[in-house]
Every structure is written in structure tokens, then in C-alpha cells.
Symmetry: C2
Subunit: 461 residues, 2 copies
């Protein structure tokens, strides 16, 4: 086919890739722009973040997690090829080599503009028994389905979750909801290493109180299987934990093997490096977004790896706008994340103590306890807020919150304040919404800011 | 008594006044500073905002609303005189004249520094029958107790609430919770005139759906009483509404008669005018805070009257710090307020359309519907977000939200963004907390910001 249309190729059919494709299509119709997207799995545009809730039973059907099916993308004139993996990027000749995973057939597809949205791959240590039936990751819809199949087919009431980050704690909740006895094995001193250890301890205590066995400071050494080859226990540096099912929640790394092979620039966390318009550095025709890129941390000034669906969707919008001929930028992140385990809510934004130290910032901390509503209002729940402020200047550096209902999203106040470069003293003046059902007369974030102001002052000059 | 200590006199014993007294006491002990506080009522430091929830039954006891009793203040070496009304301020000779409300005895008390925290008085039109038994305001704890006494003593199932602002809608909820048939009579086009009418309409519809009879565009002309002198109905410009009890929620005005008589400067809303340290303009020795002052609206640049407990507490802190020899300022407000009626949540910050017009700002609006959680997550509730942005510059001017669970406090995101002077385009980059139980992948505030960006662009230059 001789075709004068511009050719856009997208590698990866989930949040970032298909948002980019859709946004480019919105800006430029099929007569101007030809879009081909490759996805090695069966599904597109689904919420990986929703998998724990599907496994836990709150989301009844897998398809509820799918925002847009391959067919819906195709109806929008996107040539979407599922079960087709891109195995090589050739930036020199502006083409990609793809393989049909069912037939094995390969072909080259030329591009004028390329979007790399290859996402992340789960960390999976090479340990004995880790491939045994009953050991599951929860990265993809296929992973989730496999886990659910195991849970339905296999009797058993004991689950071991390896890892105590977001995925780990969310999967602990999911298994509790399914009636399992849950053990969480964690190599760190406390769960949720995205928090400082003092705040992680609150998570530890709350999860223990929920009946979850929390095992910290422990390395997994393998999986012991029975005569049938199925998992029986997780072996660790602090002993063996019986398991009918094992869930791996050890975090993810950027899936950038293709990019590396193509000589594209990767950062210290292994993610692609882009400019503010999400174009790969040093490349005219290649953009990247989602879980395969590093992003600028606006607080520390360093590149970070923050694989989150919300960023992937923003990246997709920005990449799609730029490859579609518009203008958009991604200034960076402040590192906001929220999570929950049953009724426990966990939130963080900005720098932890060790992040601040790592970039040479001196800081003070303030930790307060307050409540979600006026103390006299029914169901006022306690929450702990920790705030970091820069020594002398009082600039806000980070906030961590552990509490119950309505605790987590309060971190957004700090996320905006960090973006604006506010000091904790400026924060004490913030005009936040107050009524007894919603907040004490001093919102917990303001209480923390007031204490942080005193800490800055007492630390002197 | 010959006493070389500095003399601080505080007029008004609720949030602002007693916060100021307490903060001054924290900074300077009784050997340095003598503090006398006058309060005409029986109570100090109570949450007037909590009265609707006490009447509605969620707060079981009046005393739960009292943060600090007169005795507790006295234990902190504050000479607190309850049931004692200040009837004259003499700035020339630096003294106040007070009257013991029980004995009628009067005396002069000299001051070196004076704090005026006289609060607000409820709007109470002079209409026939308005003093009849069964007609109640809800401004003070005494008012709340009188209403509760009426509800207990008097049979009846029909309540008419006059006014559809915060107090009106909160009292409508309270009376619904007590099993009454509730009618809300409102002079405005829609309830909640602190919102634009299009958003007020959503409140109207939701309150109607809750079974509350909403009567708009209607002036109350009087109260019809029965042979026993008790209320029987509210008469209005659109007919008569039977009532066993009537609750007045017509808003409040600054209680500044004393200040006016003393020649102190009042603004166009009748509130005291202060400098950034909350010192009354043109006065060396007089500070003021709480519901009797006007505050700077940081968005419009105009003075506003915003009687809210959260500001009163901040003012008290600032006044107390300054009269105690420290340094603190109150930069102003952006006009944030949140409220609820049963499960309906209502929030606003910044300017309404008519506020923007009144100060000569041209603007665009964007209104979106989204959900409180990921659409697939259980109990995702719809919410409507309206955003105003300045023409051309795209600067955020205001946000209004009407929704259900977790809708209202999202307005804090906009409150911080307004304080920081962000544009709606900058807001689209905000790194807000995302996880399926807490938000769609694009938070509703971000969805509104994206639409506002398009509206700014489409409005041209």
C-alpha cells in the first residue's frame, strides 16, 4: 500500500499506550494519521490497580476493569494487534519488528513517530519452587485470572503474601476478604517502605490488629512443594510459613529491554528518560510514557521511578497530544500515593526522611494525631499525620498519613502545597473546608503544619 | 490593687476570644500578663457549628460541644466573667464598661490591650408572630436547648425551616433525623446561594429526593399562631405552610454595635476592619477576630464577611500570638466552605460567577460529572464539579462540588491551588492520590481542570 499518511506506531496497549493512541486520534483523523498499536497480551486499557479488588471479590467481573476493549479501539480506526509482541525497535530505519505470538510470524512495521509504552515487569527473584503451581503474580489480568482459578480449584485457607508494598498490602486485604489466614513476609524493617519506618510501624500494628500475621526483616529463600508439586510453604530466613497459595507482590521494574537494545537512554532506575514533552531524550521521533519511564521528582530535583496508573494516563494524554501535533508537557511528580488495607488508609507525598537526606536536605519532622471529623461527631476516626519541612526555610518536603476513613485523600492538600513550593507556615493559613462531619475545626493537616512551624523555629538557624 | 502587669481584656468568650486568651496565656504567664474575659452567655469555647448535629441527635449531649468550660479557662489564670456583658468600649481611656446580667451591676475595667470577639447575631426580620413559642433560632447553645425543649414538649411532625443556606440545610437534615416532615422556605432562586444557581439546583433536587419540601423564590411574611399563642403555620408570598415548629436559618451579621459606638472602623458588610496582624485599623491597642470582622478575599482582592468557626479559631491564635508579644498574620481567605444534608455533600471555594462579574473578572466555566472512586469499585458515587477560570490567563477562580461521600473535602485541592494562584492548566498536572477505592484514575477535580483548559482555549483571546 502506498500511503502518504503519517504513521504512528504504539508499543504497548495499556493505559499510557492506548491513551496516547486515543488522544492522537482525537486530534487527527484517519485520513491524516495511521495508528498501529501492538499489545502482547489479550487485553487493552485495563486497570491493573483494580486487580486486588477483583481477586478480593469487591469487583465481580474481570471485564469491569477494562476501560476500553480492543474492538472499541479498532472502531476508532486504531489498527490494534493483540497477542503481538514487538521484539525489536530500529530507530535508525524507523521501524519495529513484531511477532504474532500464536503463529510465530514476524514482520517489520515502519513508523514516522513511535510511542513506547511497554510498562513494567514484576520483580521475580530466582528462587527454588517459585514456578510451582499455587505461586502467583498479580501484574496482569491473566495473572489475576490464574490466581482466581487456583483459589477456586484448590482447597486451603492459608495465604502467604511476599512483599509489603502497595500490592502486598492490597493483596493481603483481598485474601482476608476471601476468608484466608494471611501472612505477609517482608524484607524491610516495617511494611510500606514508601513510608518512614515510624509510620510503617502504624501500618504494621493496624494490619496485625486485622488478624494478618506480619513478618518483617525476613528474606524469602524459596517455596517448598508437596508430592503433587504444589506449594506447601514459603521458606525464609526466619523460618517456614505454611501456604496453600503464595502471592508475589515484590514491586515492578521498568520493562525497557527493547529500549535498551535499541540504544535509547535509560536512567538509574532502568526507566526511559524523556524531555518535558515526554519525547525520549536525544530522539526526534520517539516518545515514551507510563510504567517504562522515569519522571522528575519536583521536590528532590531527581529522576524517580513511580509506576502508577494515574501517571500513565497523564503521560498518554501528553504523548498523544504531542504526536498529534498539539502541545503538552509533564512537569513531574511530587510522589503522591494512597492505599488501603480493609479500613486502614495510607497516604504519602513528597520526601521521606531518607529521601531528604539522600539529596542533602536538612529537615525537621512533626507528627500529630487528630481526627477525621469534629471529635464530638459520630465516627470521628483517629489519624496520624507526619510532616517534613526544610530546616530554616520551612519549605514543605513531605507528608505521610495513616488513619481510617477520609484520612488518605487529605494528602492531596500537601500534594498541591508541595507543587506550589509552600512553606509549612503558609500552610497554617490554608482555607480548608470545615464542618463537623468533615473535619475538626483545625484540619489534621493544619495541626501538623502548626507543629512543623514550631519545629522549624526550635531548630534555630 | 496596684498591679504593674500588662492588662489584656477580651470581649466575647467563644472561639476567637478564648483562643486569643489561651494563646496569650501560653506565651506569657500570669506574672506578666493579667487576662480578663467577658462573656454574656453561660458558656465558653463551644462549637456553634455542632448545634444542628446535637439537635438532630448525632451528638447526644450539649456538653460534647464545649471544647473548654469557664472553669477550665479559670484554671489557666484567665479571669473569665460569664453572664457579664460589655456595654461600652472607651478606646480613648482604654477601658470597657461591663454589666453583670444577673445583678445589673456595672463597672469599668481598664486595659492595655483589648481583643474584640463579639461574634455574630442572627438575622431576625421583624415580622408578625416571629416571637411566638415554637419559633427558634439556632445560634447559641441556649437556642439549641430551647429548640430541643420545644421538640420534646410539643407534639407535632411538621417543621418549617426558613432559609436555605448552611444553617438552613443542616437544620433540615436535623429535623429529618428527628422524624419531622420538613419544608425549607427560601427567598432565593435555588437553595445554597453560596453556590451558583446551576449547582444550587442540584442541591434542590437532592433535598427534594430526600423528601424535603423545597420552596424557592419565596418571602416569609409572618407566623400564624393558634389560640394557645403557639405557631401553627408560616405565611409566605406563595402561601401558607403548616408548622409545629419553625427554625430560623437566615444567616448572621457581625455583632459590632459596641465597636460602631466606639467609633471603630467597619467595612461594607458591617464587620470590623483589621490589619494583617488582626489589629483594628488605626488602633494601637485593639485587636479583633472571629465572626465580628471582615477578611480579605485573596481571589477577588475585596473584603468579605465569612463567619466560620475555622477562621475564628485561626484569628484567635493570631490575635493571641500578637497580643502575647509574638508575630503572626492572617493573609486572608479563599472562601472555602463545606456542608452536608444527609448523604449529600456540598462544597465551594473561590468566586461564584456573580462574584467574578462583580469585581470585573471575565471567566469561563466547566462543569463535569465524575465519581468518587474508580467506576468499577463498590459504592462509587457520582459528583458534579464546576470550575471557574479567568479568561485568557486560565487562572483558577473558583470550584463548587455537589456529590456524595468524599465529594466535599476534594474542594481543599482547589483551595490550595487558589491560594497558590495556579492556572487550571497547572492543575491538570497535579499529582493527586489515586487508588481505585479513593478516586477514578483522573480525579474529578482533574477532569474539571482539563475541561476548563479547553474552555479557556476555545474562548480565544
Amino acid at each position: 500500500m502506498n500511503d502518504s499518511r503519517e504513521r504512528l506506531v504504539v508499543v504497548g496497549g495499556d493505559a499510557a499506550g492506548m491513551s496516547a493512541a486515543s488522544q492522537a486520534r482525537r486530534l487527527r483523523g484517519p485520513a491524516e494519521l495511521q495508528i498501529t498499536a501492538f499489545e502482547r497480551g489479550h487485553f487493552t486499557s485495563y486497570s491493573a490497580c483494580g486487580i486486588p479488588y477483583w481477586v478480593g471479590g469487591q469487583v465481580p467481573e474481570r471485564d469491569h476493569l477494562i476501560a476500553r476493549t480492543p474492538e472499541e479501539h479498532r472502531e476508532r480506526a486504531i489498527d490494534l494487534r493483540t497477542r503481538t509482541e514487538v521484539v525489536e525497535i530500529d530507530p535508525e530505519r524507523r521501524r519495529v519488528r513484531s511477532r504474532d505470538l500464536d503463529s510465530g510470524a514476524e514482520e517489520w512495521t515502519p513508523y514516522d513517530k513511535l510511542v513506547i509504552a511497554t510498562g513494567a515487569r514484576p520483580v521475580r527473584p530466582s528462587l527454588p519452587g517459585l514456578d510451582a503451581p499455587g505461586v502467583h503474580g498479580v501484574q496482569t489480568l491473566d495473572d489475576g485470572q490464574a490466581l482466581l482459578d487456583t483459589l477456586e480449584r484448590t482447597p486451603g485457607r492459608r495465604a502467604v503474601v511476599v512483599g509489603a508494598g502497595y500490592i502486598g498490602v492490597e493483596m493481603a486485604e483481598a485474601m482476608i476478604n476471601r476468608g484466608y489466614e494471611v501472612t505477609v513476609v517482608n524484607r524491610g524493617r516495617e511494611p510500606m517502605s514508601t513510608l518512614d519506618p515510624d509510620m510503617g510501624r502504624l501500618v504494621h500494628d493496624a494490619m496485625s490488629w486485622l488478624g494478618i500475621t506480619m513478618v518483617n526483616d525476613t528474606e524469602v529463600t524459596g517455596v517448598r512443594t508437596g508430592d503433587d508439586g504444589r506449594v506447601r510453604a514459603v521458606t525464609t530466613t526466619t523460618g517456614e510459613f505454611p501456604a496453600d497459595v503464595v502471592i508475589l507482590g515484590l514491586g515492578v521494574r521498568p520493562e525497557t529491554a527493547l529500549a535498551r537494545a535499541a540504544g535509547l537512554p535509560l536512567g538509574e532506575h532502568g526507566g526511559l528518560l524523556t524531555d518535558l514533552g515526554m519525547r525520549v531524550r536525544g530522539q526526534d521521533a520517539i516518545w515514551a510514557g507510563g510504567d517504562c519511564v522515569e519522571v522528575l521528582d519536583l521536590v528532590s530535583g531527581r529522576d524517580r521511578y513511580v509506576p502508577l496508573g494515574t501517571h500513565a494516563n497523564k503521560h498518554g494524554q501528553i504523548v498523544g497530544t504531542n504526536v498529534g501535533g498539539g502541545y503538552a508537557t509533564f512537569p513531574g511528580v511530587v510522589g503522591t500515593a494512597v492505599s488501603k488495607v480493609c479500613d486502614l488508609e495510607i497516604a504519602r507525598t513528597g520526601l521521606r526522611e531518607k529521601d531528604a537526606r539522600a539529596v542533602g536536605l536538612r529537615y525537621v519532622t512533626a507528627t500529630i494525631e487528630s481526627t477525621s471529623r469534629a471529635g464530638y461527631y459520630p465516627n470521628a476516626q483517629s489519624m496520624t499525620v507526619k510532616m517534613l519541612a526544610e530546616h530554616r526555610t520551612g519549605r514543605l518536603l513531605g507528608v505521610q498519613i495513616v488513619g481510617r476513613e477520609s484520612a488518605a485523600k487529605r494528602v492531596d492538600i500537601a500534594a498541591v502545597a508541595l507543587t506550589a513550593g509552600m512553606t509549612v507556615e503558609q500552610m497554617t493559613h490554608l482555607d480548608l473546608g470545615y464542618a463537623p462531619p468533615f473535619s475538626p475545626v483545625w484540619d489534621p493537616v493544619l495541626v501538623a503544619a502548626r507543629k512543623a512551624v514550631r519545629a522549624v523555629r526550635e531548630a534555630g538557624w
